[in-house]
């Protein structure tokens, strides 16, 4: 379950923002439309129910009217029989007009219900029979009256009773049929009222449900929206960071181009200027040759400097990427550093510097190209000697630390200002243009050191205090069996 939720979450985050925004908007809108649809459907159902209830009630009323008309007719006829007064026949005549109309209306009303239609057919037959009997009775009475007119003798009680009883059964039967019909309608009414009630409840539940769902949907949408906003903010932050990195890289490239064009052009410009001025001075009869010789020496020196520069640039280009594995041999750093110490001791002494080595008495083996590694450390020693005033100290350390060999070259020299420290490994970067020029540096020494260490999979760090000295630390991964 948690896994599924996680997968959905992952999938959600992989969607493009456009899609996610659309989903977030769609949630409350869907809730709204669902609620509206359900509500409309229930409302129409209720209206239908209402119509049915109304309809049933009309049928009931009509039935009652029919029954009343029939009873009125019978009562009227009975009254006429007893009194022979014509005014008692008025309800009967009225019923004669009302009953067919009522029956027609009823037929129309129950036309949707075949069972009731059948019932109605029965009722109609019975009613017609009843009406026929009533008619017969009246005719009988009238004939009797015509016969007895002169005597004006009252009707004998027995025959009157018989007359009255005639058709009673049929009347009861009709009444029962009508009652049954009404009963069925009554049941239908109850059913429909129940149905209506049920739908009312469902409507209420659906309304509450869609309210809850809508609220939940809105809350979810708000949550997702906040999440999206947070993500956008994160993205912007990441973009700013990337932008910053790009700016730094761009600055570095720009510095490199400016410095490189300066460094590469300077010796060419100097060679050209010396050669051209030498040619001019050749016209000078007394001094010409002497000056020309000086200029040629200068040109030779400058060409050597340029050649060195070209060599260094080619070196950097040649070892771009990483070293081929067959160029790597197990190198004992302890031994290598002792050799370097011995090589640099005379130079340090000549500069009145105290060079000391703090090296372990066992082997520290790294996998390296010995010539390159030697050049890297020699560059650091050369820098240390160059930037340390007389009577200063230069120290060479080696130690093992967490599967790494750490070579440390520290001096008590002039140091590097903090603002220059991040740039010292850049090609052609110069802390102080004039000083390094005077000291013979080319601005590529540290770039080469860093390059060599990097192609060996190592790292180099520099720490410095102005006026107190600089420490370079080289970290190289140890080769297997380093203690062997």
């Amino acid at each position: 379950m948690a896994n599924l939720a996680h997968r959905i979450y992952e999938h959600w985050h992989s969607l493009p923002i456009r899609v996610r925004g659309a989903v977030i908007i769609a949630i409350p809108v869907t809730c709204l439309f669902t609620a509206l649809g359900a509500f409309a459907w229930l409302k129409s159902s209720l209206a239908e129910d209402e119509a049915w209830v109304q309809h049933t009630q009309t049928v009931r009323l009509e039935t009652k009217q029919l029954l009343n008309a029939l009873i009125d007719a019978e009562t009227g006829v009975r009254g006429y029989g007893l009194t022979r007064q014509n005014e008692f026949l008025a309800p009967y005549h009225q019923a004669q007009a009302v009953i067919p109309e009522s029956l027609t209306r009823l037929r129309r009303l129950v036309s949707d219900n075949p069972q009731q239609v059948a019932h109605l057919e029965d009722i109609q037959t019975l009613v017609n029979e009843n009406l026929a009997i009533l008619q017969q009775k009246i005719t009988l009475q009238q004939e009797l009256r015509l016969l007895q007119e002169p005597t004006n003798m009252p009707v004998p009680t027995a025959s009157l009773y018989e007359w009255l009883e005639e058709g009673r059964e049929l009347m009861d039967e009709t009444r029962e049929a009508i009652d049954r019909f009404a009963q069925i309608e009554e049941e239908l009414l109850t059913q429909r009222q129940q149905h209506q009630h049920q739908y009312r409840q469902i409507t209420w539940i659906v309304l509450c449900g869609s309210g809850v769902l809508g609220t939940a949907g809105a809350l979810l949408a708000i949550h997702l929206f906040f999440q999206l906003e947070q993500e956008l903010a994160d993205r912007e932050l990441a973009l700013t960071a990337t932008n910053h990195r790009l700016e730094v890289a761009c600055d570095q490239l720009q510095r490199f181009t400016a410095n490189a064009s300066h460094e590469l052009r300077a010796p060419v410009a100097a060679v050209m200027a010396n050669a051209q001025v030498g040619l001019m001075e050749l016209d000078d009869p007394d001094e010409g040759l002497r000056l020309l010789r000086q200029r040629l020496y200068k040109i030779v020196a400058l060409s050597k400097q340029m050649s060195g520069l070209v060599g260094e640039l080619l070196f950097l280009a040649r070892y771009e990427g990483s070293l081929a594995s067959d160029a790597l041999q197990p190198v004992d750093l302890t031994d290598l550093l002792w050799q370097l110490y011995a090589d640099w001791l005379p130079q340090a002494n000549a500069n009145a510097l105290q060079l000391t080595a703090h090296l372990p008495d066992h082997k520290v083996t790294v996998s390296a190209d010995a010539i390159l590694l030697r050049q890297a450390i020699a560059n650091l020693l050369s820098n240390a000697c160059r930037y340390t005033p007389a009577q200063g100290m230069v120290e060479l350390h080696l130690q093992q630390q967490n599967l790494q060999a750490v070579v440390k070259v520290s001096d008590s020299g002039i140091g590097i200002p903090p603002e220059a420290l991040p740039h010292i490994f850049e090609r052609f970067y110069r802390v102080d243009p004039q000083r390094s020029k005077a000291s013979g540096g080319m601005g590529l020494g540290l770039a080469i050191v860093q390059h060599i260490i990097q192609v060996h999979g190592g790292q180099i760090k520099a720490t410095s205090m102005v006026g107190q000295g600089t420490t370079f630390q080289i970290f190289l991964p140890l080769a297997g069996g380093s203690l062997g």
Partner: protein
Amino acid sequence: MRILLVEDDADQREPLHAALTRSGHVVDAVGDGITARWLLGEKDYDLLIFDWMLPGEDGLSLCQSCRREGQGVPILILTAKDTTADKVMGLDAGADDYLVKPVDMEELLARVRALRRRSPLWQGDKLQVSELVLQLDTMRVERGDASLKLSGRDFQLLEYLMRHPQQILTHDQIEQALWEWGTEPESNAVTARVKRLRLRLRDIGADTWIETVYGLGYRLDPPAT
């Protein structure tokens, strides 16, 4: 012409200095922006040549401060920065000309001559005192049909004398005008240079034009015709 040359690379500064001096200019050559700034406050120059990237204060900022102070002296920027944006920036900072290193020496000297012509102090390609004519571009001195090519040093002295005819110019004044900043002339250096110039002018019979005023100095005094 007195020129301030600011270039931090000594290997380039020295031949530039030599070439400009040979062309008859007095050149103060310095290697950093701070010294250049100080010299600008101390002396008047006819032309400034700045490298862009300099220790202390860069050439662009020197250029801008000169213009801010309202100095109309021509400025030439000589640099390794070669993009169009750099050139626009350099010229907008107030430079009159912009040259990218490595520069051909002939072109540099031609541009220096062109800048001199554009200077508000320019008085023409030649100086004339009586029948003595000094061609500034070719460093030739002419008198009638005779003409003579002078060395840079001799030309500097003669130009100075011809710009101030009839005036007595003391040793001090000559030293101030003709010696570069940072060089101390020896006690008889002025005398030696005058002597050398007189020797050269003898070829066109003008050696007597430079008169020694004892105890004071020298004067260019054309003989009455």
